[in-house]
């Protein structure tokens, strides 16, 4: 199971501890101070549900499995593995995209910025940052960042490395 779905080698005891509900996640102290904590918790849960089973949990974690060399050359026709570059990016993209319209609007961006940037930056400045960010990425002129645009702006970033965790035990 573990191997099939994620390749993550997480001991089952750990999973047992936190596999049930949303509150269990929220009880993790480090997650409480993580600015994106809530969003990330939400990403673990299927829509509208407050429970996640082991399978779903592992599916989420599988996004962060490093891409190994032998996988790069594997069959192109098969289903895309969860830890592919595009899936990793999509995971991040979903954190922004609250209304799930496949676009990061200015408001959505502002919300994330507000969470990540300290309180000392004024709303106005934050607004200008958001505008600038959207301008940078926006190609079709709809004042929002679509997933394609999202991928495009990050094409030079080593996402495979920066969105992967190597779990050692």
């Amino acid at each position: 199971m573990t191997k099939n779905y994620s390749g993550l080698d997480v001991s089952s005891a750990k999973i047992e501890k936190l596999w049930s509900g949303r509150e269990d996640f929220q009880r993790i102290p480090e997650l409480a101070i993580n600015p994106l904590g809530d969003r990330i918790i939400n990403a673990f849960f299927p829509e509208g549900e407050d429970q996640v089973n082991f399978r779903g949990f592992m599916r989420t974690l599988a996004h962060f499995r490093p891409i190994e060399d032998n996988e790069k050359s594997k069959d192109v026709n098969g289903p895309e593995p969860l830890n592919s570059r595009s899936n990793k990016l999509h995971f991040a993209f979903r954190l922004y995209d609250l209304d799930k319209d496949d676009k990061i609007s200015r408001d959505e961006l502002l919300q994330v910025l507000r969470m990540m940037v300290g309180v000392n930056i004024s709303d106005e400045q934050l607004g200008s940052i958001a505008d600038r960010t959207i301008q940078e990425a926006d190609q079709d002129g709809d004042s929002a960042i679509s997933f394609t645009e999202f991928v495009k702006v990050l094409e030079k970033v080593d996402v495979e490395q920066k969105m992967s965790i190597r779990f050692l035990h």
Partner: protein
Amino acid sequence: MLRAALSLLALPLAGAAEQPTQKPESLGEPLPGLELFRWQWHEVEAPYLVALWILVASLAKIVFHLSRKVTSLVPESCLLILLGLVLGGIVLAVAKKAEYQLEPGTFFLFLLPPIVLDSGYFMPSRLFFDNLGAILTYAVVGTLWNAFTTGAALWGLQQAGLVAPRVQAGLLDFLLFGSLISAVDPVAVLAVFEEVHVNETLFIIVFGESLLNDAVTVVLYKVCNSFVEMGSANVQATDYLKGVASLFVVSLGGAAVGLVFAFLLALTTRFTKRVRIIEPLLVFLLAYAAYLTAEMASLSAILAVTMCGLGCKKYVEANISHKSRTTVKYTMKTLASCAETVIFMLLGISAVDSSKWAWDSGLVLGTLIFILFFRALGVVLQTWVLNQFRLVPLDKIDQVVMSYGGLRGAVAFALVILLDRTKVPAKDYFVATTIVVVFFTVIVQGLTIKPLVKWLKVKRSEHHKPTLNQELHEHTFDHILAAVEDVVGHHGYHYWRDRWEQFDKKYLSQLLMRRSAYRIRDQIWDVYYRLNIRDAISFVDQGGHVLSSTGLTLPSMPSRNSMAETSVTNLLRESGSGACLDLQVIDTVRSGRDREDAVMHHLLCGGLYKPRRRYKASCSRHFISEDAQERQDKEVFQQNMKRRLESFKSTKHNICFTKSKPRPRKTGRRKDGVANAEATNGKPRDLGFQDTAAVILTVESEEEEEDSDSSETEKEDDEGIIFVARATSEVLQEGKVSGSLEVCPSPRIIPPSPTCAEKELPWKSGQGDLAVYVSSETTKIVPVDMQTGWNQSMSSLESLASPPCNQAPTLTCLPPHPRGAEEPQAPLYPPSDPHPSFAFPPSLAKAGRSHSESSADLPQQQELQPLMGHKDHTHLSPGTNSHWCIQFNRGSRL
């Protein structure tokens, strides 16, 4: 600052240079037979030679870079070594003995620290810590491996009889040699890899290794050295244990010293708000203190400086001013590059000295082969282990580059020179071998590594501009990874990084950062800044012209109201021209109103015609730049002058003009003061003194005026301005003609002035009010003022010295001229007579028409003298009265 550092650098070199009692002729210095000159030369000899060497090295650098072709093929370090060889040969040929060696003391105390500090301070910390595991492995395990295998293999070679028996060395000697020859050298690595541009990961691993292996090298070298000195028979088992323990002491101790000094440095810069000028100095001093402290405690000094630079950067950069940041950057780079150049050149020169080395082919060849082979083997073995744990495994090509990039350099050379010949009989052979190894790695490997990298298609580093999106999303990634590790309960790298960031934010940054800096400290915001500044610069470069012609309509900020409507260019333009031209403005600007002001300011700054600027504070050592506020005031003043000139040109006799503008009125009032001081002082004018015209006086007078001005006097002032308008238009017409026709128009102005006065005088004489005197003077002085300002900007008068000469007629003649023409008493006024002007009681200051200085008025004036005298003494000494005119010239010129 630079000079101070240079002289620091110079001192030891001087000491070093003095040792081999040198003849000055050797340098080809011009030495005439004059005794006096000879004596002086010895006074300055040492620093002079040091400066000369640095100059030669710098000139050589310039020459190398004249040809792009050469520098693209050959690394600079190779060229410098070759140059050193040539220079050393020349010196040897001329002086018949080798001089100017690379002295280990000089090298370790003065040449090495700047390079290490530079690399530590500008080390990309995130990249460094991301790869810390690999770096530490290569630095510690790799260096130990290299030292022991090379030493042992050389000993084996000797046992096999391949090394000549005259090389008297035992196993310990070879291990000692192995320990000094095994360390990858930061100077050489940096010099070569900077030009190769491999990808960042590869670079940081090789470079980080070269920095961190210092601790291992130092320990190994010291341990082996003391073992050799003790003799192998006396070495106890506890000594080995001590050796191992000292590895930890030296490395951790060095790092701790560095961190302590980084903390001190950060803390110190927090309180330098009022003494910005010493900020860069603090950075260098404390980092150097860290180096010396570590050296003193025989800890790893390189590690100390690296950690100091790495640790303090974030806080220091946040604390010190923008200018200090630039200064630190450039000084550091200059010092490092200077030191590097000198090191390589001296390496070349040192190699010439054949008295120091003895050749043994077996040893040299054996060492070369062994260091290459064991380096490669070590890298492959370690990488294999590391790749079990690494997220992104290092592939074969990376390993090849890493093996090949293991350059040896000046550290090895300095260490081998430090050996004691009595204890290590084979020192000369070791020196020769080291020189060959260093030359081989720097020249041969340095030359070939570039083609190799190209041929192997090693991933190069890509230079792309940072984008806001990247920064933002990478932050998101970090948060996601940290959160996921939290969820899984896995305490991995991201967990600890996140914890550290929390700790830093909560305690360290609060403690070490200035409160203002801490508040606005945010990486995303930083990137936004930088992008905006870049845009601003490019915008000004290409669009400044458009800006000035379209005028003042731009800074209205539509984007603030409706962001969505703003086009990209408009927003960029807005942010470029406005908020972000200089950091200090942005730092403080908060509200939209302020920002608009800033936009306005920058727009005017960039768009308006700028007259020559002359800094008054040339004598202050402690403050470079004038206060921003003051500058702004000046600029506002200057712009007002301009606007007025413009409007005078276009709308003559526009009486209501000044009333709409509060600022011009003020300047007009200021001129009253000038006019009066001028008028009364009249003739005795000390022009030389005017050079020191004090700005403070202006401010004072302005305040004073504001204090003493009642509403009535304001009214009077307004009317005074009306005269100004008329008079100016007349004078200006003349002045314009002369200004446009001649380079030096001042003499031309004198002819029109009588006509001016004549026109005014009959009209003036009708009124008998004293206060009007003020305004009449104003009518004369203001046009002159503006005129001179105008003319000056047009006729490009360069120095202040010349304007007074040229202006003297203008200024002196014009105002008194009408008076003089009408009435000869004017010069009879006592020179120190402070003139009543703005301080007139309001009742007297009733606005009226002009007034002539008839004798009847004189008593009245004298009555007022005490009052005025008091006034004046508060802020005007008699001498300073004459400043006023120049002050205003300057004001318009500034």
